[in-house]
Symmetry: C2
């Protein structure tokens, strides 16, 4: 059920993203570099949340398709810029060379810039103007989170706020823009924001746990990559067991919020369970 | 008259930009780095064109203020990213250290990204949805122009198309978004696009001439900076005298287009004359 819905949303998203990228036909290298990262096997979680929120509030997935594509382009641009040498300096992303390794830094900067512009161009075609408000706010909060991260110096007291912006903001944008495309009620939107807040934390904490356990298993010892690199994560701050407890708590909060939205929330509850126990 | 109107528009723009930047209060270094470049003595030509187009089509300058601020933030982000080491690698901008020299590369990338997001957040507050369409298209075309520039290898046949995207796109976005904020007629919008196309070329060619003459006078010889650096400009391709002839021709085209819009076009005709004979 979950995987069927994810596939359905993903097929819709990929087709529309291809059409939107054709806006760059006259700048072939820009198009190629944007497409390289947009079509690189991402899980399309944000578009799925957007379209599922739209369905949960009584709309069709297609009603939220432009918003969904905008979210995925914004997420992708952030990954391209994050990987740059001046930021995280990552040579690989999703099993292949990162954008700047494949196209050079100048093209990677422009691929990111272009994807953000194209995301808002897509929203200019969307008749639900509240989707623009939700997504532009989320995109800006995401940059605030990045800035706090870059400049925090590992300050533990900033961890939750920073992750709430870095990861939570686009999840909030996903469900609120999806709800906007279904003309959802104020109560539905508020419950979806509560879901996104909790789900965003669940997603980030399980990501931290995976990073820690993945690297620890490779190294055959109990210290993961993040601890090694001096990064501040939920695992380095609270320890593995406590981080797992927090994940369970946020999963519970997220499920409660879905119930408050009303309607058939099976997609959301299955996604929560999947995320809590995910292996990648 | 021209300078009074420019000052009036500039005062409105600066005040509103300050309010919009306060959205980043919770990420102080992001705010500081964005403000550093936004308030660095730019001429605010794009906001002025936007508000003047709105007035020419019967609106008040304030009707176009959010669009005007969005344009200035997009222009500023493009300058920050252009100056990066991987792009033009400029250490100075408007007489002071460029953004990455002042805040480091990571913060400069984020300042640019944040300004683009904040521009579209500003547009989410603007009730004239056509302004979003115009500005998102212009922002994307600008990136296409940058990409063509980065990858053209100085190909002379690409010069006009490249400059039309790089410089012309935001001028088109300025006048069409301003017109949208005044609910202008289709005929007015089309004439304003013809103005922007010609004015954009005038602006770029006079910019190339200034760069050439400025550097040539410093060096005391007839080869300017762009020729020295192997850049392809209107002066390096057509020579100084022919470039000046082209500038006059575009100034004429721009004036004709303003007449077609109707109304009191004094601001525009004075701006055209000023740009044709500008010394900076």
């Amino acid at each position: 059920m979950l995987s069927e819905r994810l596939t359905q949303y993903s097929v819709l998203t990929e087709e529309k993203l291809g059409k939107l990228l054709s806006e760059s036909d006259l700048a072939p290298i820009l198009k190629e570099s944007m497409a390289y990262s947009v079509f690189s096997g991402g899980k399309r979680i944000r578009p799925a949340l957007c379209m599922a929120a739209c369905e949960l509030c009584g709309g069709a997935p297609e009603d939220a398709l432009l918003a969904a594509c905008a979210l995925e382009m914004i997420h992708t641009y952030s990954l391209i810029h994050d990987d740059l040498p001046a930021m995280d300096n990552d040579d690989m992303r999703r099993g292949k060379p990162s954008n700047h390794k494949a196209f050079g830094e100048a093209n990677a900067i422009l691929a990111g810039d272009g994807l953000q512009s194209l995301a808002f161009y897509a929203l200019s075609l969307c008749p639900h103007t509240d989707a623009l408000a939700a997504i532009s706010k989320g995109a800006f909060e995401m940059v605030m989170g990045q800035s706090l991260d870059v400049n925090s110096g590992g300050d533990e007291t900033l961890l939750r706020q920073l992750q709430d912006y870095k990861t939570g903001a686009l999840f909030r944008a996903a469900v609120t823009s999806g709800a906007a495309c279904a003309n959802a009620t104020k109560e539905q939107r508020e419950a979806l924001i509560r879901f996104a807040d909790a789900y965003g934390m669940l997603f980030q904490i399980t990501d931290d746990i995976l990073d820690f356990e993945g690297e620890a298993s490779v190294l055959g010892k109990s210290v993961g990559k993040d601890a090694k690199e001096g990064k501040t994560t939920f695992v380095t701050v609270y320890g593995l067991e406590q981080a797992k407890e927090y994940a369970k708590g946020y999963a519970h909060e997220a499920r409660e919020a879905v119930l408050e939205v009303g309607g058939d929330g099976a997609f959301f509850t299955e996604l929560i369970s999947y995320t809590l126990t995910r292996k990648s």
